[in-house]
Amino acid sequence: MDIKEFLKEVNAVPHVSGYENELTDVLTSKFSKYAEVSVDKFGNLVAHKKGTGNGPKVMLCAHMDEIGMMVSALCENGFVKFTNIGGIDKRNILAQEVTIHGREKVFGVIGIKPPHLTSSADMKKPVSFYDMAIDTGYSQEKLEKLVRPGDIITFNQDIAELKGGKITGKALDNSVGVAAMYCAMKNLAHYNHNADIYFVASAQEEVGLRGAKTATYNIKPDIGIAIDVTFGRASGLGEHESSELGKGPSIAVGPGQTRKLFNALKKVAGNNNIPYQVDVIAQGGGADFYEIQIGEGGVISILLSIPLKYMHSTVETAAISDIENCGKLISDYIISLQGAEEGEECYWKN
C-alpha cells in the first residue's frame, strides 16, 4: 500500500474535530472495497467486516479528526480572530499559512507585530491567541461576504518526505493511525477470520474522546484496540517519555491496558518478526483507548501507537515503516485469534 499517497489524500481535505465529513467521504470510498461502511449519528465512520462466526467482536479505533481553529470574529482590514479546537501550542503557529473554510476557501497567514515595535520584555513572552489575527488580504466588507464566526480554519501544510524514510506534515496525528488501520484492513482482505471486525475512524478525539465513547456504546466490542500516536523521541525528550521513530509501533502497558492482550500482541510480534516498542502508561492518557476500556461491561483493550515527533504542530514527523508494522501487527493479531482456545493469551471470553 502506498502510505504516502494515502496520507496525502487525507491531508488534502479538512477534518477538524466536529467537521470530519469531507474526510469521511474519502475514507468511505476506500474502506468500502473491504468492508461494509456506515457513518453513525455522531459522525464516526464504521467499517464492518464480518467474521466467519464464533469469533470475538473486535473494535479497531483510530481517530480521524485533526486539531484546528474556528473563526470567532472579523476585524477591520480583513483580519480574523480565532479560537483553537484541540490542543494548539500558541508558540508554534506564528507565520503559518491557513485556509478559512467559509463560503469560499480563503487563504490567510497568522501575522505578528514586527520585533522592532515589540518591547524586549514582550519578546520573551509568547504571543497569546487573543493577540493573534489571520491576515486575509480582504477588506472587512468583502470578507464579511465570505467568512463568518463558526467557520473552520485549517493549517496549510502538505506532506513532504524527509531523509531516512520519514515524512513530515500536519495532522499526522492521527492520519498515520488511520493509515495503519487501513493497512490492516488490506492485509485481511482475502482472509477468512472468525473475528467480527469493526474498523472505526472516530470523530472528535482531540476535543475529548467524544466519538470513541459513542462508537463503543453502539458496537459493544469484546476486544478494543485504539490506534493513535505517541511521543517520538527528539532532542529534549527522554527515553522515559518517548519512543523512537523507525523502531516499530509502541504497545502500551499499564494499569488500564489488558495485560493478556499486551502479552498476546508481543507474542504475535515475536512470531512474525515485527519490531515493536513498549510504552508504559501510568496515567489514563488522552486517547480513545480510555473510552473503549470503560465501555459497557468493560472491554479487553489496549493502545497501539505510532511514534510521532513534534506532536500537534505543522511539522509532525513519522516513519513510514512504523505505520506498516503497526498495520501488520494488527492483522497478524486478528489472524492469531483464529485458533484461539480457552487458556491462551489471546482468548477473549471470561
Binding site: 490542543g87 488580504g137 531516512g164 527528539a234 513534534y310
Partner: protein
C-alpha cells in the same frame, strides 16, 4: 511572473547566485553591459553614452535566513540566523543547502510542556533542524557546516490584491529595477543589485566606491505594521496606500530636495504615495550617500507586512505604483534642473 520567479529563488547573504542568474537572464540584451564585481554585486549599465544626469538604481539580492552551525549526534542541525525573529521559527519548514534538503524545526509536544514552558518563548539556542536522519554521519552525507538554510514558502496571490512570499525584501526592489531598465528612458543609468545587505550593507559598501552617479534611487521592501491590534501611530506604513518614501532611517537622512521633487511628480500624476513613518531600520542608501563626495539618495519601498518571515505580505498595487512613480519621475523635468 517576474516577482514569483525572483522570490522562489534562494539567495542567502553570500549565496546570491540563483537570484543573480535570474536577473542576468532578464537583462541580457536589454542593457549595455553586465558585470559582476568581486564581492558578487551585479552591475549593469544602460544608455552609458548618454550625457547629463546619471541615475543609479539599487536593490539588494540577498534575503534573511539561517546557516548550518553544527551537527548533533542525533543527526539534527544547530543553526545561526540573520535577522529572523526567533518567535517565528518553531514549526517552520526549511530548505537546507544548495540541494535544498527539506528540514523542519520541531518543538516539544504541548502535552509534555510545563506551565513554565508555556509561559516562555522557544530560545533559538535550544532549537534544531530535523532532516530525518538519526545519526550525525547520516546527516553529514547531505549537509555541510556553513550551508545556508532558506525558508520554504510558495509565492501566493490572495485576498483582493495581496501577495504572500518569502524574500519580498528585497526581490520586490530587484523586480522594480528590472522593469524600469526595460523601459525606454533617456538617462544614463546604472543598475546595482547588491549582495549581503542583510548582514550590514556590505555589497553596497563596495558598489558605492567608484560610483559616479548624480542620484541613487534605492528600492526596498520595508516594514509595515498596519495589522490588527497595532495602534495607528505604530503602523510605519500602510499596505495598499502606495509606495513609501523614506525621510530618515538609522543609516541615512534623505535629501529633502529630492523627496520633494518625487512627491511633486506623484501628486501631478495622481500616484498614491506615503512616507515611511519611522526612523528605524537601515538600507544600502547608507553606503551611497556618504560615498566619494557624497551621492544624494531617494529611498522608495513597498510596504511588506511580516517582513523577514516566510509569509511576507505585500500589495500588488503598491508595487505597480512604485514602478509607475519612479518611471514618471525619470521622465519628468525634475532631474534635468
Amino acid at each position: 511572473m517576474l516577482l514569483e520567479k525572483l522570490t522562489s529563488a534562494c539567495g542567502l547573504p553570500g549565496f546570491e547566485d540563483e537570484v543573480r542568474d535570474i536577473i542576468k537572464a532578464e537583462l541580457e540584451g536589454i542593457v549595455d553591459s553586465i558585470k559582476v564585481d568581486r564581492i558578487g554585486n551585479l552591475i549593469v549599465t544602460k544608455n552609458s553614452q548618454a550625457s547629463g544626469t546619471h541615475i543609479a538604481l539599487s536593490a539588494h539580492m540577498d534575503e534573511v535566513g539561517l546557516c548550518v552551525k553544527s551537527i548533533n549526534a542525533d543527526g539534527t542541525i544547530k543553526f545561526v540566523s540573520w535577522g529572523v525573529d526567533q518567535r517565528l521559527l518553531p514549526s517552520m519548514r526549511l530548505l537546507v543547502g544548495e540541494k535544498k534538503i527539506p528540514g523542519v524545526i520541531g518543538t516539544k509536544p504541548i502535552h509534555l510542556q510545563s506551565e513554565a514552558d508555556r509561559g516562555s518563548v522557544y530560545d533559538i539556542n535550544s532549537m534544531f533542524i530535523d532532516i530525518g536522519c538519526n545519526k550525525k554521519e547520516e546527516t553529514e552525507k547531505h549537509v555541510s557546516l556553513g550551508d545556508f538554510i532558506a525558508f520554504e514558502s510558495k509565492f501566493t496571490e490572495f485576498g483582493e490584491s495581496k501577495i504572500k512570499a518569502k524574500a519580498l525584501d528585497d526581490r520586490v526592489g530587484c523586480a522594480a529595477i528590472i522593469e524600469i531598465l526595460k523601459m525606454d528612458l533617456p538617462y544614463k543609468m546604472t543598475g546595482i543589485f547588491c549582495v549581503q545587505e542583510e548582514v550590514g550593507l556590505r555589497g553596497s559598501a563596495v558598489a558605492a566606491k567608484g560610483l559616479h552617479a548624480d542620484l541613487v534611487i534605492n528600492f526596498e521592501g520595508t516594514i509595515c505594521a498596519d495589522t490588527e491590534g497595532v495602534p495607528v501611530h505604530e503602523h510605519v506604513t500602510t499596505s495598499g496606500a502606495g509606495p513609501c518614501l523614506s525621510l530618515m532611517d538609522r543609516s541615512s537622512i534623505y535629501n529633502k530636495k529630492y523627496i520633494e521633487s518625487i512627491v511633486a511628480v506623484a501628486e501631478k500624476n495622481k500616484i498614491p504615495y506615503q512616507y515611511r513613518r519611522t526612523a528605524m531600520g537601515g538600507t544600502d542608501a547608507g553606503s551611497y550617500h556618504t560615498a566619494g563626495a557624497g551621492i544624494p539618495c531617494i529611498g522608495i519601498a513597498v510596504p511588506c507586512r511580516y517582513i523577514h518571515s516566510p509569509v511576507s505580505v505585500m500589495d500588488k498595487n503598491d508595487y505597480e505604483n512604485l514602478v509607475k512613480l519612479v518611471a514618471q519621475y525619470l521622465k519628468s523635468e525634475a532631474l534635468t534642473k
